[in-house]
Symmetry: D2
Subunit: 233 residues, 4 copies
């Protein structure tokens, strides 16, 4: 029984630290890494550390996503691991939401995931090999008050992930959806001293992505949730 083996990863979107943790972990395990984000100006240090190529891309734009994959493909070959982390939300009472904000949020959280997954699948299917991992949130399984926008985007993302898992798994592509059920710690959001590990450590999340990535195809997971030990759920 061999663990799955992958060569190169493309990470789209920058969450609060998760993309960086994934890039580092993938690089440490020998994968070539590419990172894409709407704003790339803060990615220089990461690029240097992980030798990742950095790409500017609006993930909700079909042409830009197509171009992203063409560029990445030319440099280091088509990625056999693609992770989608981008999302967008507006928190407000339903009646106060600006329709354009809602539309854009859905496009970034879900439509962009479709675009990226489609480009990824096109390149993976001929080899019957690859992994497409989508980063979800509590909002994808539970629609909260004042959070209609995020619920729509993340539920849609989960629907996409489940449909893809059913369609692509038997063709050799491992599709997984991660429910990040809690806040992620960051410089801006440090862990309180009196509640150690009460915010998700992005390196810890990345470990679970990796464990999922190396699963043998006789026992694939399609959905994995992670939450801090102290989190109410």
């Amino acid at each position: 029984m061999d663990k799955a083996k992958y060569k190169s990863a493309l990470i789209v979107g920058t969450g609060p630290g998760l993309s960086s943790s994934l890039a580092r972990l993938f690089a440490r395990n020998g994968l070539a890494v590419a990172v894409a984000a709407r704003q790339t100006d803060k990615l220089a240090a990461l690029a240097k550390e992980t030798k990742a190529s950095v790409h500017q891309c609006n993930a909700a734009d079909p042409a830009e996503v197509a171009r992203l994959f063409e560029t990445v493909e030319k440099t280091g070959g088509a990625p056999d691991v693609v992770v989608y982390n981008a999302s967008n939300r507006v928190r407000a009472p339903l009646v106060d939401l600006a329709p354009d904000d809602v539309k854009r949020a859905i496009e970034i959280s879900a439509f962009g995931a479709f675009l990226v997954s489609q480009q990824a699948a096109k390149r993976m299917l001929p080899n019957k090999h690859g992994a497409i991992f989508l980063t979800g949130a509590t909002a994808g399984v539970k629609g909260f008050a004042l959070s209609a926008t995020f619920a729509m985007g993340k539920f849609a993302l989960r629907g996409l992930a489940q449909s893809m898992a059913r369609e692509l798994s038997p063709q050799g592509i491992h599709v997984a959806h991660f429910v990040i059920d809690g806040g992620i710690r960051s410089a801006a959001r440090p862990v309180p001293d009196n509640a150690p590990d009460s915010l998700l450590d992005p390196d810890a999340i990345a470990e679970t992505y990796w464990a999922t990535l190396v699963q043998h195809r006789s026992a694939w997971s399609w959905e994995i949730e992670v939450r801090p030990w102290l989190e109410k759920f």
Copy 2:
């Protein structure tokens, strides 16, 4: 314990017969009815039968939806029952989907539901009274292969419904999501002789919407699924 009482209904979108069944049932129970659809040319008979006003509207367009509610409001007052039935899908392998089709499908299935619900809620909240019912599908709880588009739209719709139920219920608005789990019979899709009642009768679905509508607020449902007795699930 009094059953809830409603005066006027707006039905948006035309499903396979469900909108007509709802219009008839609402009218029979004394509600003033308005019907909105993208194409209204086939609605003359229904309008005559139910005395419903008929409105042309692209439900995915913010300005058109705002205008729809203004027009309906002027004629018979703001509706205290609003049902969203519109949806759109493209069935194809993931890699064959045209991005524009996917975007439009999500906009009609989910973004339009947001627009209509928002306009409805704005008018219901001051009275702390009203009902917003969203018509979902199996695809909203189960993402099938070859059906990523429908899964995204209907999952997003369900996320919207759940978020709205949590936010608006305590403000007196009954939000419900209906999972239509099976095919609906129609002239184009008759029930097979050897499998009676094996397709959903739109009048039967409408009865369950009505039963949900008259629920006492101490015992509201937010999600109700219906399926034929012979349906695999």
Copy 3:
């Protein structure tokens, strides 16, 4: 399209008022009613009001349940509607639970439901007609801390209901599971003045059971949740 028609109902177990509300509603709609409970001494008034026959029965005992159905059958014919309301719970930290209490709780909440459903199904299957309704709780879909016992019993009940729905629906028996998501008001638990209708009115719950009972078989529900408009969920 005809609504389903039923003649006689057997209600097993007495919840906080729900069994009585069901008995009254069924009787008002012309059904012959039988009520079974472990303790029957408080049921005289209900029996008089609804002309229900009253039966003493420990629902977790196979022989007693078999005898119950034989007795009811002799009196007024086999019931074509059977409702199971009995449940039992112990609230305590996991480590403090007495194993015997846990075993008994599961037997009353779930094993008894199996026994009653089996006797009911035996009599309904030859006619391809009948309804078996099981009363669940929030605990059947969400396992709370300090509530392992109730979670085990009510999850098991839901599993039973779902399995029976899949097996018996195509044979003409309508199986439904009701998620009572909130407290039920009673003499001992009155509704707070400052939060009207914030506890489930048992008459209101009964209305939803009735609406489900009369559903046309082309559009059956198998699971329906009800909660007060002010309930957090």
Copy 4:
């Protein structure tokens, strides 16, 4: 960020190969291993290979389970990892099930898991450290026709797991529920040549248990499903 560290494991119940795979993997990673089963006569080879102690125990009997933990504790200290794999089922139409079989199946699949978890938690709570892993099945999330017994047992197990996760996680005990969604390959059930890896490899499942065990407490999973890439779901 340190990975969790464990010293000794107790595995209760023997599934089709999973218990053995877990014992081997735990032993390889340096844990002391104890194995308990109703019938221990086939466990000699495993015991020799993994240096595991072997214990005869009926997991549905409170006194035997208490004695099991006392014995294991004396030998190698209280286990800080406990896995429950035992289950029982009867497959038959609802009306053909023997009540005693149903009762016993629930007791083995769910009540036994409670007994084992309780004994485990008693010993883990003082140290605020430990892991309790419960092996579920598709039947725990989907109740199939002709499978009421298994549905009841595995739903109840899931309810127990969810309740324990909410109660014990904030006290330092990692509770996880694994949904084994497919058949496990074994000598009696070999993988078909034309569908490689279409049955779950028990070693592959064990890898995912291990990955879950070493999760950092800021990012614990409570439910993980695994299925073969070719499995319909």
